[in-house]
Subunit: 255 residues, 2 copies
């Protein structure tokens, strides 16, 4: 996972407009449209049957074309999976970004909560897409490097808040005086490369723990591990997640 701290706004989602201006020739226009239809059909299949059942033949059937025709638009099943993965990361990232953008800039807790809630809501709304990116990896599949930037959009948002909290100088004493074992400090090196020297080891450690905690909680909820642990009546899961978010925020010193 990379953490490019700027320029994420130029990453365009597969499901949004393409960046190359409107295609001119009829062929290009048709090509764009059908590519879009294929990806939409793939998303539909993903939503209903899950990633393992995703099949190029089924997509072709869905669109009423010969199965071989799909290969004019998609190189292979793996390539399609990659596109769906990138799309899912972008969709999630966009959801988190727009939610965060709605909060008052100076309200770090509000921005933080908005991101966490957005991640969880997106996961609930798109369980199979969530499983595609945060569930068990597909055995043979290796994610190409293009997935890295989209995959880090949420983390970038969270990191930015931690940096602002540090810059504000209002982190509580138990965090500014906190530290991390030398070995752990070394293990945090890759992350440090992206975050820079401003945040303390302890804050980074806390940030990573909260980050993994967030996805751990969402995964457990989505994958059924909270059954008979946290109530699933109306609003109960939301209340529980809200309590988690409040505490995560405290752990990184913004509440």
């Amino acid at each position: 996972m990379l953490l490019p701290l700027s320029g994420c706004a130029t990453i365009s989602s597969m499901t949004t407009q393409t960046e190359k201006s409107i295609p001119r020739t009829a062929r290009e226009r048709a090509r764009a449209e059908i590519t879009r239809e294929i990806l939409d059909a793939a998303l539909r299949q993903l939503a209903t049957d899950g990633a393992p059942a995703l099949s190029l033949r089924a997509i072709a059937r869905d669109l009423g074309m010969a199965s071989s025709a799909v290969y004019r638009y998609v190189a292979s099943r793996d390539e399609l999976l990659t596109r769906l993965i990138i799309d899912a990361y972008n969709s999630l990232g966009e959801a988190a970004e727009t939610a965060e953008a709605r909060a008052d800039r100076s309200d770090l807790l509000g921005r933080w909560s908005a991101i966490c809630i957005a991640v969880r809501s997106w996961a609930i709304a798109n369980p199979n897409r969530y499983a595609l990116i945060y569930g068990s990896p597909v055995p043979g599949y290796v994610a190409p490097p293009d997935t890295v930037a989209p995959a880090s959009r949420v983390a970038v948002l969270l990191t930015r808040i931690l940096l602002e909290a540090t810059a504000s100088g209002r982190l509580p004493a138990e965090i500014t005086s906190d530290s991390v074992s030398p070995a752990a400090s070394k293990a945090l090196a890759p992350l440090r490369k992206f975050i820079g020297p401003d945040a303390s080891d302890a804050l980074i450690q806390r940030g990573v723990m909260v980050w993994t905690g967030l996805y751990g909680a969402v995964s457990f909820e989505l994958f059924g591990q909270l059954h008979d642990v946290i109530g699933d009546g109306p609003g109960e899961r939301e209340a529980w997640i809200a309590e988690c978010i409040r505490r995560w925020a405290m752990q990184v010193g913004i509440a």
Copy 2:
């Protein structure tokens, strides 16, 4: 997930001895042996190719028997999956239990750490079995109730420690004076049923967060999400997890 706070020792793992005394007739003996061979072959296939690729035909091939013969021992692919799931939960639970049992009873932190480390080590050693139980659920598959008890073994261990910590009366003030929103308190009701009235809402909330955090961290490590976040040189991941464990223990007041 159920949390039966007693009687877990009687749960026998599929890969250990069966509880019915030694089978008498040659038929029964052979049946037990071949059942065992089938499950072993399934475990081997699971380890190398992952759960999605698990196939009854491949197992039959592996054992040199007709594919139809496997149906004398296993009702269906789903039933085999269930057995593997139960076996995985039991294997993980057993690893955690024996690790915990080696620590001094009065050393709550030592017991806690032993469990967390055992979970992570087991996951690293058995990535596909871990993915089978904590990764994305298989779309069509529904886990039968027999999986519930084995699935809760680790949680039972952790819960017991929290109860002992409460009973000891040595929980730090920030935990005993801590509380949880009324809505969150209500959401914790299912868990409370198993834990009883002794532990406070705040401690239970903290416990669940740490529990989800543990699996979140292990899943992220195993599923590649920590790539370029936490160093993967010798000992780095271990140092990072150790730092996490230390902090989780502090969050539930046992360090």
